[in-house]
Subunit: 251 residues, 2 copies
DNA sequence: TATTCTGAAGTTGTCAGACAACTTTGCGAA
DNA sequence: TTCGCAAAGTTGTCTGACAACTTCAGAATA
């Protein structure tokens, strides 16, 4: 381990060691199965106790990056970040985040949400519809009161995903919703209420709901697509970047 | 902590403790900021040493689920899995993994891959096509040699996602591909070659490629859908579970 | 009586040593 | 040359001690 990471002494040693180890694995392009230095060597190199090394390795094990075998050693299990999908930035346009990047994330969202709406139309149960109605009702109340409904907006979309009867679609929608909560704030802010953005979004929600309630998969897909296009516009994004008129022509 | 998790003694204590703590946080619906029991209490409750508890907490810290303050305690930082999307199991049918669950993951994949194929048809560049051709050529070579092409199969799908010119779609495809590498092995194994599974998969790949090369978005979507239906069947999954004949009727 | 200050108790962070359980290596015997 | 066994090496867990920080309770002061 001639090119081993050189340690520093920040407040949380195990996190820092984990970070440096992860970086070193990436830089060395260690393949799956490559053995890491022993705990003893790492203690010497980082100048920390065995407990700190073990906690750092535990962190990397939680990330799926490293695996260990008692009596044998620690091994690279996968490249860092292998076992999960993350979005890289906050999802509100700003001077530091390229608008195109957010638009691209919107498009990924579009792939999943239009498909989910379609399937929800085919598979929704009365309980699913009740759940959507409840979220809609709460957004209606927020409209009347001029108050915040970011959480209800999200709940509405998760309820649609739940109506697909596919828990993985629901989980993915919940994940994306968490990343998008910031982007819903301008819709439901005081300014969003005054400018009519909230009212417009709610009208789009109602159209999606109606299509799903009617069991009309095509209309549900089209309504979900239209909603996303308008949502992007409300954020100042250009949905035409997603493709050409052909895809938009479905609405 | 009257309703604390009851421990067992599996081989890797810290992983098991972390899992049980995470589950308990979810079941109790502990909000962000809620304090966890002290290390001392957890040691007593789980019947393990302080080192094991600390390693388990380190795992949860790596997941972003828990944060700690020296002298104060451990706190819920976010619901488990908050900042990332993970699939929960390996993706090969087995006695311990419900087939329905894998089928559901396939459907999520279907949402993204059919949309990606559509967009690839509209946006692909000559370089994109060359990249797909290269992966196809390598799979052809593997067909001729009876050898493994799991990596090339994956590279083909990632190349399609890259042709959407949307890096997030590409990254998601790469993530899903990693989770699915096990599921491609039966196609490209010796048995897969002998039984014709590899040849069939490759024919499907060629159809997707042709549609994308022609710029025919509808055909690309249909070819991608058909490929996924057949891939599911090759794995013994029932693609009819995904919905009814209406969605399949698009092929 | 209310507020502030101080010290003790409590809690996490790190270090060190010991032993258990497992793996790898090296040497001698067949 | 191969196999078996013991020693050495390595990870997994436990225990104890001390450092660094936080919280709480009681005493002192206004």
């Amino acid at each position: 381990m001639s090119a081993a990471p050189i340690p520093e002494r920040p407040p949380d040693l195990s996190a820092a060691v984990a970070r440096q180890l992860e970086q070193w694995i990436s830089e060395q392009q260690l393949p799956k199965g490559a053995q890491l230095p022993t705990e003893k060597l790492l203690c010497e190199k980082f100048g920390v106790s065995r407990a700190v090394i073990r906690e750092a390795i535990s962190r990397l094990k939680a990330d799926g990056c490293v695996t260990t075998r008692q009596g044998s050693g620690a091994y690279v299990a996968a490249p860092p970040g292998h076992g999960s999908f993350r979005l890289l930035h906050g999802l509100l346009p700003s001077a530091t985040i390229p608008t195109d990047e957010i638009s691209d994330v919107f498009e990924l969202r579009c792939l999943v949400e239009t498909g989910a709406a379609e399937r929800a139309a085919l598979r929704r149960t009365p309980a699913d519809l009740a759940r959507m109605r409840e979220a809609l009702a709460r957004m209606d109340e927020a409209l009347a009161a001029g108050s915040d409904a970011v959480g209800d907006d999200d709940a509405f979309h998760v309820a649609i995903a739940a109506a697909t009867q596919n828990p993985h679609i629901e989980r993915f929608q919940a994940f994306m919703g968490r990343q998008f909560s910031d982007s819903r704030a301008p819709t439901w802010s005081g300014e969003g209420h005054r400018s009519g953005r909230a009212r417009q979004a709610q009208a789009e929600h109602a159209r999606i709901f109606d299509a799903i309630a009617c069991g009309d998969a095509d209309a549900a897909r089209a309504a979900a697509q239209a909603h996303l296009v308008c949502a992007a516009r409300r954020l100042g994004l250009d949905p035409l970047r997603w493709g050409n008129e052909r895809l938009e022509g479905t609405q």
